[in-house]
């Protein structure tokens, strides 16, 4: 039983990390209806830029805000060059465009910073908490706990941003109804620009955390694959969905791998979250917190 | 010009339908006779569309009985309904936008097609013969509705009025026993309305199709229907010939109420 909890807690903690990545997708999808496949590339780009600047001798305190600025510019430019000309096109086209964008960003990142892998030390030791190890024989990494805290803080910050600031409210209006938002005079492009910038920020945070966890390297772009089932489960448009979905996916994938894996040869955490999400969707086609799709005739 | 109105082919008793506690229809009962034009009218939100959706199996009423051709049914789904000869049009045009007018009308014939996908893939022998036989039928409908000039145009590019006509064509292609028309004249100009009326009357007259139609515009309906049911807030408030309905005080109130 103790082992079960250990796995569960580990799963929940990884789940938070997944949520963090998923959050970026949700923001953009919610505001502009674009499934931004390039979010993974953005995570990679953000992390690489921060580390690259750091390696040039800047302190993290300078490198991170600088990267933030770069991400905002990237977001705004993307909105202007890629999305605006494609407005009102089918979702799939936009989706494809973001894949093209991800190629571009991946190429750009490597062109600027090279293909070398880099380590990132945020100064948080990724070691099990001694106390827990000693008393409960549970290996819970303090890094994970801190990362979870950061993720939670982020969600809280986003919540405040959405509900308290003018632009945040505009964003919600846009998410609810593009037409309505237009008619009350909210500049749609402006809002989209902001959303992309915010998504860039989310990418930076997840890039830093994941980069510190696994090293800053191209494979960070694969994080998209971890975020997808979270999105399906939680719903593309729901911030709480991303969090809850992440927790469910994280926990279940670990439990499945540990307790189910050995019976089928293991390595199932690649597909298990997807199958889980799929089964879930069969029951609730719009995801956990997604808006119910009403079919009118 | 005499009409051969036949026996009752479709009747409703005590139909009630609700969505999450909101009553859309409350104990509705009326019947439809063969070869007649039966109109369901009422102010917005009166439950007209719900009624139509009940008829062709999109909604399943919680209560009540539907008898179609002497057989009671309640849980019939849309496919079975189509199979048994009920075709319909939609209030907001539901054409297949990516397909041509001809293809849209051909889809209406799908239930009459026997060939399977393997033969389709070969496009040979029976499959081709069948396709051509149905093409001919579709062409007759195109001719009937006078839309020859747009035969191969993708429907998405057509103006609204023509789209409505194509949709009628698609429904007719199924050679239905009962044709349900959901606000066939909504959003049309006077000329288009006249055309549509002519087509509806022609369909009824020449093909003998029973027509159940919903319409918001009372004037048009009164001119072309044989009998009219009036709904208001999900309840039936009148039923009878256009003249009877016109004289009915409840109807006048309901419509005046809307007018305010």
């Amino acid at each position: 039983m103790q082992f079960f909890f250990e796995v569960l807690i580990a799963g929940l903690l990884s789940g938070v990390m997944y949520s963090l990545v998923a959050l970026g997708y949700v923001l953009i999808y919610k505001a502009s209806g674009v499934f931004n496949f390039a979010q993974g590339a953005m995570v990679f780009f953000a992390a690489l830029t921060a580390v690259g600047l750091h390696d040039l001798g800047l302190s993290l305190w300078v490198a991170v805000p600088l990267t933030m600025a770069v991400m905002v510019v990237l977001g705004l430019v993307t909105e202007r060059i890629v999305l605006r000309p494609l407005v009102a096109q089918p979702e799939i086209t936009l989706f494809m465009a973001t894949i093209g964008l991800s190629f571009f960003i991946e190429g750009l990142a490597q062109a600027i910073w090279g293909a070398n892998v880099r380590g990132l030390d945020l100064g948080i030791d990724d070691v099990p908490l001694e106390w827990l190890l000693d008393h409960a024989n549970m290996a819970i990494s303090q890094f994970d706990l801190i990362a979870a805290a950061i993720a939670a803080a982020m969600v809280a910050a986003l919540a405040i941003f959405f509900s308290k600031t003018k632009i945040g409210r505009a964003l919600r209006a846009v998410a609810d109804d593009h037409q309505a938002a237009l008619s009350v005079g909210i500049p749609l492009h402006h809002v989209w620009g902001v959303v992309w910038a915010v998504a860039g920020f989310v990418a930076l945070v997840s890039g830093l955390l994941w980069g510190a966890r696994n090293g800053v390297q191209f494979s960070l772009t694969f994080l998209a694959l971890k975020a997808l089932p979270v999105l399906i489960l939680g719903g593309f448009t729901s911030v709480p969905g991303a969090i809850v979905g992440g927790l469910i996916i994280g926990a279940s994938e670990k439990l499945a791998e540990v307790f189910l894996g050995p019976y089928v040869g293991g390595g199932i955490d690649g597909w298990f979250p997807y199958v889980l999400a799929l089964l879930f969707l069969l029951v609730r086609p719009e995801g956990l917190f997604g808006e119910k799709i009403i079919r009118r005739i | 010009m005499t009409k051969r109105i036949g026996e009752v082919i479709l009747s409703f008793t005590n139909i009630s339908l609700s969505f999450g506690g909101v009553n859309a229809l409350t104990r509705i009962g009326f019947d439809v006779k063969e070869h007649e034009i039966r109109a369901i009218i009422g102010p917005n939100g009166a439950g007209k569309s719900s009624m139509l959706n009940v008829i062709n199996g999109v909604y399943h009423p919680q209560q009540g009985e539907i008898v179609f051709r002497g057989k009671a049914r309640r849980g019939m789904n849309t496919y079975e309904s189509a199979k048994s000869g009920i075709a319909r049009t939609f209030q907001n045009i539901a054409l297949f936008k990516g397909m041509s007018v001809l293809d849209n009308i051909m889809t209406g014939r799908n239930l009459k097609m026997r060939s399977n996908f393997l033969l389709d893939a070969l496009y040979w022998g029976p499959a081709q013969r069948e396709e051509i036989a149905h093409r001919k039928k579709a062409e007759e409908i195109i001719d009937f509705l006078e839309i020859q000039h747009i035969r191969k145009t993708p429907v998405g590019r057509l103006p609204y009025g023509l789209q409505k006509r194509v949709e009628l064509g698609r429904a007719l292609a199924a050679e239905p026993a009962i044709l349900l028309l959901d606000e066939p004249m909504a959003g049309m100009n006077v000329e288009e309305k006249q055309d549509m009326c002519r087509f509806i009357l022609d369909v009824n007259d020449q093909l003998g199709t029973t027509i159940v139609l919903i319409e918001h515009d009372m004037g048009v309906v009164m001119d072309i229907s044989d009998r009219v049911v009036v709904l208001d807030y999900g309840k039936k408030i009148a039923d009878g010939t256009p003249d009877e309905v016109r004289a009915n005080q409840d109807v006048i109130d309901a419509y005046l109420g809307v007018a305010h």
């Binding site: 060059i81 979702e91 571009f104 190429g107 597909w271 997807y274 | 297949f96 397909m99 060939s115 396709e131």
Partner: protein, 363 residues
């Protein structure tokens, strides 16, 4: 401009419903086919077309076209977004391999058919969720197929005949005693298979089954009301699409790579094929070919072009940088094409053709 349609009237429905109703199109198409079947081999025998063209460009182009065609049936015609194409290809490849391996004297074409059918069966199973799920949710859900199938093929040794490397080595293609060994003969083999299957696909999409797919795609509620059964229609689309992908996968293994590992059929491949469909044009048979050509050829030409530019200008980018620039240009071009014509190259072609037909009038 080159169309002379006046006088090409149709006196029967047979004539009117031909695949190429315009005579000029028929001529051009016949020319293309003749060129592909006779001209290219002839040029090759003259030494103008090299082996490289066959094995590295034409053969993969045709195979990817077939896979894109399969996905196009599902996504472009039936409107069901799928990211599991590579998995269906894998099923086709591995199933064909096993049929060949385990049944003595199995004719290769039958093995391909059976491989395709296995893919179709898998397609039906994984298509079941489409009855309830739509759009991106479905797309993401099809990823389950992608990962699960590849996992299964890696995991279950039987599929790879317990090969220690977990790979399969495709048997020789032998038909009626003739071994398709040379690159040209493999090309011709693939070309024949792809041509026939493209024809069948075209026939399907212009008859009732195709209309049922498009109806479901355009307005599923209305499709149901006029009597198309969504279950049947969607699953049929999944089955046919997967069949095509399965055969493409088998060709990929047999006529192209030779030895494949399950990992070869990864998500990357699925994405590439989806790209072909979208860039080429969803809902267009021709689009599948154009898209495949674009995605297969573009990186090669970019690579060649970049090398050439470097050489011509004397600027020598570090190897890593030039590769990165290549990737950036590729990404940008995709975005560019999507912006210029979101409905794909086929639409561009269509517009161009319309322009030629209306020439000298503007479109």
């Amino acid at each position: 401009m080159f169309y002379r349609e006046a006088g090409q009237f149709k006196a029967t429905y047979e004539e009117d419903s031909r695949i190429f109703p315009i005579r000029q199109d028929r001529i051009v198409f016949a020319f293309i086919l003749a060129f592909a079947f006779l001209g290219v081999p002839l040029l090759a025998s003259l030494g103008i077309v090299s082996n490289y063209t066959f094995t590295a460009i034409l053969t993969p182009f045709l195979i990817f076209s077939l896979a894109a065609l399969g996905l196009n049936i599902l996504t472009g015609y039936a409107g069901q977004l799928s990211l599991g194409t590579a998995a269906f290809m894998a099923v086709g490849a591995f199933a064909s391999y096993n049929f060949m391996l385990r049944i003595e004297g199995m004719p290769i074409l039958v093995a391909f058919m059976l491989g395709g059918l296995c893919a179709a069966a898998v397609g039906i199973v994984f298509g079941l969720p489409s009855l309830r799920i739509r759009g991106f949710y479905l797309a993401a859900a099809t990823l389950a197929t992608q990962f699960f199938i590849v996992w299964c093929l890696t995991k279950v040794g039987w599929f790879t005949n317990y090969s220690s490397s977990g790979v399969i080595s495709a048997q020789k293609i032998v038909i009626l005693g003739y071994t398709f060994q040379s690159s040209m003969s493999k090309y011709l083999f693939v070309l024949a298979v792809v041509s026939v299957m493209a024809l069948l696909a075209k026939n399907m999409v212009r008859s009732n089954i195709g209309r049922s797919w498009m109806a479901i795609r355009d307005m599923d509620m209305a499709a149901e009301v006029i009597g198309f059964r969504p279950i049947r229609t969607k699953l049929m689309a999944f089955a046919v699409s997967s069949f095509y992908c399965g055969v493409a996968g088998a060709l990929f293994a047999y006529a192209y790579l030779g030895t494949v590992e399950p990992e070869g059929f990864n998500l990357d491949l699925s994405f590439r094929i989806l790209f072909m469909v979208i860039i080429g044009g969803a809902g267009s048979i021709l689009g599948s070919f154009l898209g495949a050509a674009f995605i297969v050829l573009l990186p090669i030409y970019l690579n060649v072009l970049l090398n050439f530019t470097e050489a011509a200008t004397g600027i020598d980018l570090p190897s890593g940088l030039s590769s990165s620039v290549e990737l950036m240009v590729f990404g940008s071009l995709i975005i560019f094409f999507l912006i210029v014509e979101p409905h794909g190259l086929a639409r561009l072609w269509q517009i161009g053709k319309e322009k030629l037909r209306l020439w000298p009038f503007p479109h």
